[in-house]
């Protein structure tokens, strides 16, 4: 059996099964667990009600990100409910001996940004968090996915969850990406082809030279969005790019430990001839800079295209019309030239240093459009520091942008960063659901380049004009 060709996914999954339950899920061991203030309090409450403790506190890491303010983080948090959640995260972490990077801590930031940048996320690991974009960590060749609060309680109390093994899908993208086409566009393109439920029940491996040539930041953006096509998660085989990224990070293995781990990591790839339940191929040259026009991430298209007609889309016409109605768009509209009120660059999808470099490459030498409100939010304090060190802050300031403090911010608008009802926001985040960025908000998902072009022109603009 060990000689038959095996997928990367099977190698990692099978080595984490503690027990197989007949006609049931696998008891699945978790190497790393991230928690944040919103989906953990009820789990800790559950532990207390049952009178059980945390089995391996050293395997759990806490960071505050979902409801934190992005200005004046040195002041007490105004909203009493948010302040209470932040306090509970601190108290619970201290009580059970879990490391906690709270507001103001130099390591604080969005959970899916700080995990990798501190060397907590490693190849071959199983990683979970009460947040669906945990799939981000799959960029390192880990099996990583989002869980519910009951499962958070399971991991805390037993370091395991109960998981039926998903089916396997491989998505290959080969060829040369065109000018202005970023990892975000690759992901939005795939989702637009598969729909938001096209990969439900599957775990995806991304393969092909497009992903091999991507930076770790880019791979994280792609894996992050796996959940938006319904997949449990997505992963990319680790390679030299991965190892170079990890080496030297604060919590990464060192010395002899590094050598042992590295030897193992190098075995983490899909063997030739291994089979998948589904395999899909795309051509890099078919992908344009993307933008969404509807109320789910599958409703995206090349920025130069027109909004599809209801008769051309699969699925319910009523649902489609409801969606366009919410957005205030009509069939066959062009997106180019649509007025933009807000621009948000940040989130665990596009809140890493490479994203701010891309944004700055376009706004450099231009000015923010007067009517546009822009929120520029780094994914972590480490990213914030890099932005300053690399001189990106000067470019942003010169162009009329203000850098805020790290957190999830307008990605889910739990703090004060809410897009007002009816307003249009070009966002580099991951969800354009009704009200996601504030009640009544209208979200256009796009890459940092598209966001930058919109911020300086005030309308949806093809970023290739500036490249």
């Amino acid at each position: 059996m060990s000689n038959s060709p095996t997928t990367l996914f099977d190698k990692v999954w099978d080595s984490h099964v503690v027990r197989k339950i007949e006609d049931g899920p696998d008891v699945f061991f978790i190497d790393r667990h991230f928690i944040h203030e919103v989906t953990s309090p009820v789990a800790f409450l559950g532990l207390e009600q049952r009178g059980i403790g945390v089995m391996y506190p050293e395997r759990t890491f806490a960071t505050a990100d979902h409801n934190t303010p992005t200005i004046n983080q040195h002041l007490p948090v105004d909203d009493p409910l948010s302040a209470n959640q932040l306090q509970q995260l601190a108290t619970n972490s201290a009580k059970y001996g879990i490391s906690h990077w709270g507001l103001g801590d130099p390591k604080n930031g969005i959970v899916h940004v700080v995990g990798p940048e501190n060397g907590i996320t490693l190849p071959g690991f199983t990683i979970v968090c009460g947040d669906s974009h945990t799939s981000t960590h799959g960029a390192f060749g880990a099996i990583a996915f989002g869980i519910g609060t009951s499962e958070v309680e399971m991991v805390l109390s037993s370091q395991c969850i109960m998981q039926p093994k998903p089916k396997k899908m491989r998505i290959n993208v080969n060829g040369q990406l065109g000018k202005g086409v970023t990892p975000k566009d690759v992901a939005l393109y795939i989702i637009s082809k598969l729909s938001t439920s096209g990969a439900t029940g599957y775990f995806v491996e991304y393969a092909g030279d497009v992903f091999e040539n991507m930076t770790m930041e880019g791979r994280m953006t792609v894996c992050n969005l796996s959940i938006e096509m319904g997949a449990r998660g997505g992963m990319i085989a680790p390679d030299q790019t991965t190892f170079d990224y990890i080496q030297g990070r604060p919590l990464a293995p060192k010395g002899a430990d590094w050598d042992t781990q590295l030897a193992y990591w190098k075995t983490l790839k899909t063997d030739a001839g291994a089979s998948f339940d589904e395999e899909i191929n795309f051509k890099a040259s078919d992908i344009e800079p993307m933008i969404t026009y509807g109320t789910n991430p599958g409703m995206g298209m090349g920025i130069s295209k027109h909004i599809p007609k209801a008769s051309e889309v699969e699925g319910g016409v009523a649902t489609y019309e409801k969606s366009l109605d919410y957005m205030g768009f009509a069939e066959n509209d062009s997106m180019i030239g649509k007025k933009v009120d807000y621009v948000f660059i940040g989130s665990c999808t596009n809140g890493r240093i490479e994203d701010f470099r891309a944004f700055a490459s376009i706004v450099k030498g231009h000015k923010k459009a007067d009517h546009v409100t822009a929120w520029v939010v780094p994914g972590s304090h480490i990213v914030e520091a890099q932005i300053k060190e690399e001189g990106i802050l000067d470019i942003l300031t010169e162009a009329g942008f203000v850098l805020r403090q790290p957190g999830c911010s307008a990605c889910l608008a739990m703090n004060d960063d809410k897009i007002p009802a009816g307003k249009y926001a070009v966002s580099t985040s991951n969800r354009n659901f009704e009200g996601r960025q504030g009640p009544g908000s209208r979200t256009l998902l796009a890459s940092p380049l598209v966001a930058a072009a919109a911020a300086i022109t005030g309308v949806v603009t093809d970023p290739r004009e500036f490249l």
């Binding site: 009460g130 669906s132 109960m162 029940g201 659901f433 009200g435």
Partner: protein
Amino acid sequence: MAYDSFSVLKSSAVPMPIENVDTDQIIPARFLKATERKGFGDNLFRDWRYDKNDQPKQDFVLNNPTYSGKILVGGKNFGSGSSREHAAWAIYDYGFRCVVSSFFADIFRGNAINVGILPVQVSPEFLHEIFTAIEKDPKTELVVDLQAQTITIVATGASESFAINGYKKHNLLNGFDDIDYLQAMKSEIADFASKR
């Protein structure tokens, strides 16, 4: 025991023939600030249910007294998006014990079972039959029998079986949860962990 056990449910149903109902609609993020599992039902489908001034929107099904019951019938791809278990809590807290759809998002399906809601996946055709039956008679009843793994429209007698794995079925029938199971095998887990 974290929730009431589930055996046979006979109830009228609330129809929501919308596709891709995501968890941000089921419970918007701004209502996720509680630190206890209480009161989420009040904000179930908040922005579809109430207008900006917190007045009930008359055209939304939960505000229509014609429809009631412990079964929510949704369109394809129910529960997509965020992993927030609060969505399942809100549905449970509002009084639903079963959600029927032709397709569920993975994380939602798992969360639902973990909080004691039975997700029943039926064929698109049967889903259509259910919607039609409710349209004809809003008080029409459905019978969901977990032991037999069937769902039946009482008025027409039409019935379909649904899938659930044996382990989860046993849990739901008895009101057990995964944590009970995992606690009972901690030494096996510790053994496993020590070898990693």
